[in-house]
């Protein structure tokens, strides 16, 4: 009785070609070389802590450098200010004093300058009511055309 054959009995395997005798030795050498060349570059950036620290250090360095260096616009303003005479600056301030607010002015005036200005009295220095005599007050009312007999008690008090 003939033995039952399966499909594999009708297939003959062709062996795949074998590589050269030194192929595997060269393959090991090439693989290790490829691995080493990768190892030089990759590990630094594969470690997130090292990578993030490096980025943070660079950012801080850039911020510090820029924080203490005037921008281009600020540098132009400083150069232009140096070209102006003091009288030109005073004239500009007088003409545009309404554009300055007290916060802006205070940024440019030191505490010592304020102290000095308080100790020197000029024609424009404000005076207090205690420094005025009755004659000064009456003269002011006359100049302003105010009749003191028409003022109410509250207004006189002021």
């Amino acid at each position: 009785m003939e033995q039952k054959k399966d499909i594999f009995d009708f297939l003959k395997v062709n062996k795949t070609e074998a590589p050269a005798s030194d192929y595997f030795e060269n393959l090991v050498t090439n693989t290790l070389a490829a691995k080493k060349s990768k190892a030089i570059i990759i590990p630094l950036y594969k470690k997130p802590i090292v990578w993030l620290t490096a980025v943070a250090a660079v950012l801080i360095a850039v911020l510090i450098t820029n924080a203490f260096r005037p921008s281009d616009e600020e540098q132009h303003v400083l150069v232009a200010m140096n070209d102006l005479s003091k009288s030109e600056i005073n004239k500009y301030i007088e003409e545009n004093i309404d554009d300055f607010d007290t916060d802006l002015i205070s940024e440019f005036i030191s505490f010592e300058q304020i102290e000095d200005s308080n100790s020197v009295k000029t024609d424009n220095t404000p005076i207090t009511i205690d420094e005025l005599t009755d004659e000064d007050i009456l003269e002011y009312f006359n100049d302003e055309g105010i009749d003191i007999y028409e003022l109410s008690d509250d207004e006189i008090y002021i």
Binding site: D9, L11, F24, L27
Partner: protein, 190 residues
């Protein structure tokens, strides 16, 4: 029988670190490289592609050998990496145009009603698909026994299983592949 050290000796060598790591790696390639080469080349049918894939496989082996816990035989682990790398390569290669330089892996022996009408390349493709459908261990046993024609004793030594278990595994694998081939060949000839 085997001129190379056992898996455990290679792994112990690798665990010692330093220059021993490279020595362990060389032993792995010397012991298993040819089997991996044929495994890949039977599918790519091209030495250049095989070379590229095998190098990628070996880089992964080198990078991950220390993490290998020895839950399976070393060759089973290597086979799995090579199989995945090859399938990934084929997936990418479909988008290009792969060139088969090798002849078909089969010759058809006259006498089978259906096979006589088929091209050997078509049979190769079907067999490859059938092997890929097998569980990993059966696919590995089939490859070593059918394509490599290794004796059961040597396969048992490589895979750390008994010869009886191997024979059963090979029988089941063959049966599944035959069922797959017959089913698809019948569809092709209808």
């Amino acid at each position: 029988m085997n001129k190379y050290p056992e898996d455990q000796e290679i792994l112990s060598l690798n665990a010692q670190g330093g220059t021993h790591v490279e020595e362990a790696f060389r032993l792995i390639v010397a012991k298993f490289g040819e089997g991996l080469y044929h495994q890949i080349r039977r599918i790519t049918k091209n030495h250049e592609h095989t070379n590229d894939i095998l190098q990628n496989v070996l880089i992964k082996v080198f990078e991950n050998l220390s993490a290998f816990k020895g839950d399976s035989a070393l060759y089973t682990w290597l086979y799995r990496i090579a199989r995945n790398e090859t399938l990934n390569f084929l997936d990418k290669e479909k988008r290009r145009s792969g060139v088969d330089l090798d002849p078909a892996i089969f010759e058809i022996i006259a006498g089978h009603a259906t096979l006589d009408q088929m091209e050997p390349d078509k049979i190769s493709q079907l067999l490859e698909a059938a092997v890929n459908n097998l569980p990993e261990k059966q696919a590995l046993v089939f490859q070593l026994k059918y394509f490599e024609e290794l004796p059961y004793k040597e396969i048992a030594s490589r895979l750390h299983v008994t010869e009886g278990a191997l024979k059963a595994s090979f029988h089941i694998a063959k049966q599944k592949i035959e069922d797959y081939l017959v089913s698809h060949l019948n569809q092709s000839t209808i």
